[in-house]
């Protein structure tokens, strides 16, 4: 609008650059915001700052060699990407993973889901101004990092899984430590939830911000907690079960809009709290029921799957990742493609940002749990 009631007063839009270096975008993201004061007309995302051509690298390093690169696709949830790649290769080459290996995979991935959700929940707190929940959440995450370090030697980029199983078995005494940690975590999660999520200011900032309807979510291919917050009961672990998930008994929480509308930021935030509880349940069941046996199937070193293609979906902390692998019979894949949950979530931000305030954009990005390396690969 360039004219107001008084013809001498000219107003124009402000173009802001929420640049690649910014304390609150989750990773290296850039938004070009056209704003009318505090209210945004549109926020156009600009990604690609973290593009490392991982998909092309896969064509050069071979099937086994690509495993460490999958960690970097999403470094907060590295176990899931490891599992996705391993499952895709196993599907192509028709390899079966021993049961203990599958249990190890489930334990590792569920711990990673806990860690990732703790990070997201803490970051949400920090983005709306309360720095304390971030540090409390990270304290719990540190303990998970210590556990996983004992398991596979790394705190962030794990490279724990191999095609055909996992690299190492659980160290002695690890099971008891893990169970003790879960006993420690459950009441703390409740305490954390009671302290922060029901705070009046937190609810005011999060509720009714950018609600997404179920049809819109499916149309834009939102996945994971984002989709479940809109009321769609879809979890790859239940609907298209892979690994040993059919053995476990857990719920799939969906958003009910208790503090605002279904599918608003508060729902997406609470989804992660509920999912942490479910992960804790799965972990207890997996840790107590582990079968014995080998953890890694015998896989030949120069793996040459027959020339075919497959798609595998893994329920990562950010949504379901679709791994599409085309093999051509040689030891190097012809094409690898990961469709990650954050990529789809970025697509919807431009549409949702119309009419939001700048402070709400930060909340939207945090609630959609967008991580830059996943978008750019």
């Amino acid at each position: 609008m360039s004219d107001t009631a008084e013809p001498t007063l000219r107003t124009e839009e402000m173009t802001l650059n929420m640049g690649p270096q910014h304390p609150s975008t989750h990773g290296v993201l850039r938004f070009v915001i056209r704003a009318d004061g505090e209210v945004m007309r549109e926020a156009v995302p600009d990604v690609g700052y973290l593009h490392r051509s991982i998909e092309k690298i896969a064509e050069k390093v071979g099937y086994h060699g690509f495993m460490p690169y999958t960690d970097r696709v999403d470094y907060v949830c590295a176990m899931f990407t490891n599992q996705g790649w391993a499952m895709a290769c196993e599907k192509l080459a028709n390899i079966e993973v021993p049961r203990r290996g599958e249990y190890c995979r489930v334990i590792a991935t569920e711990f990673n889901r806990l860690a990732s959700h703790l990070l997201t929940v803490g970051l949400m707190g920090m983005d709306i101004g309360a720095m304390t929940p971030f540090l409390h959440a990270l304290r719990e995450r540190e303990m998970i990092n210590d556990l996983i370090e004992e398991l596979c030697g790394a705190r962030l980029t794990f490279n724990y899984m191999r095609i055909g199983g996992v690299a190492w078995d659980l160290p002695p005494g690890w099971r008891e430590k893990a169970l003790a940690y879960l006993d420690h975590l459950d009441p703390i999660l409740e305490e954390y939830n009671a302290l922060f999520s029901y705070n009046k200011i937190c609810i005011q900032r999060l509720a009714n911000v950018a609600p997404i309807s179920a049809e819109e979510a499916i149309n834009y291919n939102l996945v994971g907690p984002n989709l479940r917050a809109c009321g769609v009961k879809w979890d790859v672990r239940k609907e298209m079960p892979y690994s040993v998930y059919p053995d476990f008994d857990f719920d799939v929480p969906i958003g009910r809009g208790e503090w605002g509308t279904i599918g608003d930021s508060m729902d997406r935030y609470m989804m992660r709290i509920y999912e942490m509880r479910e992960s804790s349940k799965i972990l207890r069941q997996a840790l107590t029921r582990m079968p014995d046996g080998p953890v890694l199937a015998k896989v030949v070193r120069n793996l040459r799957p027959p020339a075919s293609e497959c798609q595998v979906r893994v329920e990562s902390a950010r949504g379901d990742q679709g791994w599409y692998v085309v093999s051509d019979g040689t030891g190097y894949p012809w094409r690898v493609h990961v469709r990650t949950g954050s990529f789809a979530a970025m697509g919807i931000i431009q549409k949702l940002s119309r009419g939001l305030m700048i402070a709400d954009l930060v909340v939207l990005i945090a609630s959609l749990d967008v991580i830059a390396p996943e978008i750019d690969r």
Partner: protein, 396 residues
């Protein structure tokens, strides 16, 4: 004080027949310099260290503990670091406004120290319009912040500056309205006069003298938080959105001056509330010696003010930030009507009981004590229920 200076002049310390006013003025300047430089700035520095430790304990970590015993010299190290930094002024910025802005903000923080009633004899200038001077001078911060936001030639700084200006100006109104009940009760604007009208027993403080004053004190506290740009109202310097808001383009000592003003403002806001509602420096008459009494009164004042400062830090570590439109609606739709009601209610109360109502004081005090006891009970309940190892050693 004046007699002492007269005796010095008579003794010939200043040469033959000096102009009296100049001598008085020189003394006032020297004393102000002592108070401002010796009390205000070190206080702001030390409170930055205390804030970081308090924050850290709330966030289950330790805070600065390397520089000096328990990190107590951290603020000196920070000050030295900032002074030694390069003074960056953006190319397109307006240099005069850019350089002037921090000084205006610091003026807004430093000038009220002239009327701080530390004890019955320790006050730099006992103006009989003390409160009016106080509110007038703290409003200088707005000009400084707006200047900083505009002169930085940075759209994010501009947003921060405008948010801050809107916030401070809006919250002046509930703050001013909440000062009125006390003025209505005492009939004077002078700080010492208001404090003398209260007595040292808590049930004779103005906080408990009538329910309208109780609510007015709370409104005043929240408005003071908002005026000082403290969480939950720290949108102008909202780190996660605007990097540092209006102070983004500043570096070195100019940047630190903005934050000195914020930390020092905590003390000033606390002092305002203490003077008006918590009895100021009133202390029990334990001795007839004026020096001892003054020390006791100084202690009493500082304890009350520092408790309020601690509460500000506590709130900062706990609550998230409100959005700008929620903050404005809080001010205009809730605080302004409530403060009007307080004012009218107190006027009616004073009309009915011109000498004050002692019984209401005791009742309100009992209520206040009950609330405090309930709060402590809940805290103890949660402490006992939480299964983490807690250790209350504050200076680890």
């Amino acid at each position: 004080m004046q007699n002492w200076i007269d005796s010095l002049i008579a003794a010939g310390d200043f040469g033959k027949n000096p102009p009296r006013d100049l001598v008085y003025a020189a003394f006032i300047f020297a004393l102000s310099a002592v108070v401002f430089l010796g009390v205000a700035f070190p206080f702001a520095g030390i409170v930055s260290w205390v804030e970081r430790r308090v924050w850290a304990r709330i966030q289950s970590r330790v805070g600065p503990n390397r520089v000096g015993p328990n990190g107590s010299l951290q603020w000196l190290a920070d000050g030295a670091k900032h002074v030694l930094k390069e003074d960056v002024i953006p190319d397109e910025a307006d240099p005069r406004l850019f350089k002037l802005a921090p000084y205006l903000v610091v003026l807004g923080f430093v000038l009220p120290w002239a009327v701080m009633p530390f004890s019955s004899a320790l006050i730099l200038a006992d103006l009989n319009v003390g409160i009016l001077y106080f509110t007038a001078v703290t409003a200088l911060t707005v000009v400084g912040v707006l200047m900083a936001g505009w002169a930085s030639d940075n759209k994010w700084s501009l947003i921060g500056g405008i948010r801050s200006a809107a916030q401070i100006i809006s919250y002046e109104i509930p703050a001013g309205m909440s000062i009125f009940p006390v003025v209505l009760i005492t009939g004077t604007l002078s700080m010492q006069g208001i404090i003398r009208a209260q007595e040292w027993e808590p049930y004779h403080w103005f906080l408990f003298s009538n329910p309208f004053c109780f609510v007015a004190a709370i409104v005043l506290y929240v408005s003071a938080l908002a005026e000082g740009n403290r969480t939950p109202f720290d949108l102008p310097e909202a780190e996660s959105e605007l990097v540092a808001g209006f102070a983004t383009e500043y570096s070195g000592m100019r940047y630190l001056l903005f934050f000195f003003a914020e930390w020092g403002n905590m003390f000033i806001a606390g002092a305002l509330i203490t003077t008006l509602y918590l009895g100021g420096w009133q202390a029990p008459r334990l001795s007839a010696n004026p020096v001892v009494m003054n020390v006791l009164e100084l202690l009493s004042f500082n304890v009350k003010v520092l408790f309020l400062v601690f509460t500000s830090m506590w709130v900062r570590g706990t609550l998230p930030r409100v959005r700008i439109d929620q903050m404005m609606s809080l001010c205009w739709k809730f605080f302004v009507p409530i403060s009007f009601i307080n004012m009218i209610g107190t006027a009616v109360w004073v009309a009915i009981w011109p000498e004050g109502n002692r019984v209401a004081g005791y009742v309100m005090f009992a209520l206040g004590v009950a609330i405090a006891v309930l709060f402590i009970q809940r805290v103890m309940y949660y402490l006992r229920r939480s299964r983490m190892e807690m250790y209350l050693h504050p200076t680890i």
